[in-house]
């Protein structure tokens, strides 16, 4: 009995000692936001830690969270899949630059329908999420899927319950294709879905979709692939149904005009081109133009520089599209111009 209390006190003592022994670690940096970019950011962080011994702690709390936390200065950078308007950047004094691109795919969980077999149009997707199409054997779905056996099964739409750039890009595409969606629901990081199940993060949507018969959800491609979820094909602007893969994401990204966009604000959804995947998206990092701590600011930029230049293989292994070299050049020029600490430019 006494031995036990001694042990407890001993443990507490060791804990206290280990706390007082805390030295200043190398300037670790922290980021939060987009769940879309989470897998690749944590992959990069792991490699960077091994190389430079600087920890980049990224927490996926949704794009809305990223914007909130950078505004509250609880993190060193935020990550969002919805680019901010110039006024929202200028208010707090933020700069934004794209870090990675990827595709959003609709995923389904319907017995007997394999990945890539089901075709959908933007209008049908919108009607499903509006609740106007509620069964998988609906005429509208059957009409563009001749020869596919559709079961009599209720559709369970799964959406993002948190503020999310994935939702922004998804609703952007739906609003382009469905006037009714545009009027009733609109485009935002969080909208009021008329029905369905809300999952938190891409993780939550993947989990709910894979666990619910008859579900349909929309997730970042890496999540669909990792979870072996059956994806559906979506019709693009040219009326084609490209396969969602690196090639079709790159095709959509290739058409983007980064050079002339203020604040790198380019929406990749519904880009023209026969091979373009219609729901392509990118993630932006948000940093303060005037860094309170110069060394931290420098650390953040150095991390992204490393990711742009050495992180392509990791990105492609997780099915993301890395930023092309010419765009990286534009981004780093903007750093040199905009990001300052102690009154001096932090880059290069």
């Amino acid at each position: 009995m006494n031995a036990l209390s001694r042990k407890l006190i001993g443990a507490a003592f060791v804990g206290a000692i280990s706390l007082t022994a805390v030295g200043a670690q190398a300037a670790d940096i922290s980021g939060a936001g987009s769940t879309f970019a989470y897998p690749i950011l944590s992959k990069w962080a792991e490699a960077y830690k091994a190389k430079a011994n600087v920890g980049m702690n990224y927490q996926s709390i949704g794009s809305g969270g990223g914007i909130k936390q950078i505004n509250a200065k609880t993190v060193d950078f935020g990550a969002t899949d919805m680019p901010l308007e110039q006024k929202d950047l200028d208010g707090p004094g933020l700069a934004q630059f794209p870090i990675i691109m990827g595709g959003i795919v609709p995923v389904i969980n319907v017995k007997g329908i394999d990945a890539g077999k089901l075709k959908l149009t933007g209008k049908i997707l919108a009607d499903i999420y509006l609740g106007m199409i509620s069964n998988w054997n609906d005429k509208a779905i059957a009409a563009i899927n001749p020869g596919l056996k559709l079961p009599d099964l209720a559709i369970a739409p799964v959406y993002r319950s948190d503020g999310s750039g994935t939702t922004f890009n998804f609703t952007y595409y739906l609003a382009e294709e469905s006037p009714e969606w545009k009027d009733k629901i609109g485009v935002n990081t969080a909208v009021q879905f008329p029905q369905g199940i809300g999952g938190k993060g891409n993780e939550g949507v993947s989990a709910f979709t894979s666990r619910t018969d008859g579900a349909i959800g929309y997730v970042e491609y890496a999540y669909a692939k990792q979870n072996k979820l059956a994806y559906a094909l979506v019709q693009n602007k040219e009326g084609a149904f490209p396969e969602p893969n690196l090639k079709s994401f790159q095709a959509a990204a290739a058409n983007a005009d980064w050079a002339h966009a203020t604040g790198f604000k380019v929406i990749l959804a519904n880009q023209p081109g026969k091979d373009s995947w219609p729901m392509t998206a990118s993630t932006w990092a948000l940093v303060y133009k005037n860094q309170d701590k110069a060394d931290i600011g420098k650390s953040v930029l150095t991390f992204f520089d490393y990711a742009y230049k050495n992180g392509q293989p990791a990105a492609e292994s997780l099915d993301y599209v890395p930023m092309p070299d010419n765009v990286v050049k534009l981004i780093e020029e903007s750093w040199a111009k905009d990001v300052k600490g102690d009154g001096k430019a932090l880059w290069p």
Binding site: A32, I61, G62, S63, G64, G65, G66, I67, K68, Q69, N71, A154, I155, A156, S161, D162, G163, G186, N188, T189, A190, V191, Q192, F193, P194, Q195, G196, I197, G198, G199, K200, G204, A207, F208, R211, T212, D213, G214, A215
Partner: protein, 323 residues
Amino acid sequence: MVDIPSSSSRVLQLRGPQHLFDRLFRSATLFFGLFILLLLGGVAVSLVVGSSAAFSKFGLPFLWTDIWNPATERFGALVPIYGTLMTSLIAMVVGIPLSFGVAVFITELCPPVLKRPLSIAIELLAGIPSIIYGIWGLFVFAPFLQAYVQPFLIATLGHIPGLGVLFAGPPFGIGILTAGLILAIMVLPFISSIMRDVFETVPPMLRESAYGLGCTTWEVIWRVVLPYTKVGVVGGIMLGLGRAMGETMAVTFVIGNAHQIRTSLLAPGTTISSALANEFTEATTPVYTSSLITLGLILFFITFIVLAAAKYMLIRMQRQAGG
């Protein structure tokens, strides 16, 4: 000058610091005692301060507005309040009979040898953290409900006029009903252990007399034990209710986080605590954050009332047992 014997002067010298220690120790205990009251006050004040932005924008209608739209910055608490009450109600409907059964078994039927291990086993259910119920609920319980229980409910109860609306719609596996059932399991140990304790306060004389008159065990419970302990039993139930309303992680995993009110119990919904766990880190605007804190304030208020009532009843029960 009177000569004080050296011995007593030493006593006096000792008394000085000792006396000081006494005062210090007493003050310390009093200080932290008051600190507890301050803590509760501090929580209330911080929530009220945090909720002011939302309150000034929406006013009282916040309580019965069913909109929750971050895009347009329109918020209302009705949906999460409904979800909290509905899941707790299911937890009570399922949990009270179960808890009562467990308490009866342990006090009346159980061989003395098994009494302790059984009590400990049931109380271990209370020790399992919310998050564990959550992942178990999501990975094991919800798929099971979706595959076997819900289709059965839809096919049977779903066709009864009136009652049918509660069991309509596709079986998602996750939703209000699943959350309520998990809560029922979670509150079982709390309610049953209090019931067990109050059942044991019944004077043996009363029990023995009833048995002497030829009552069956059930009649003794129903006519002697329950009337004698009803205040305590209700107190225990209220305590379970207060727990159920505040439960977070387990519910967050299985309720489906949908800001909507549906008549069907199979539909997904949201509760106050799950909305907080889900959305708090990402509420972008001050009004959004403030609306969430207001939800917290509402939860604090409801659970405080329920728990205080429960506590009051249990104290009355104690007095009765003591007096």
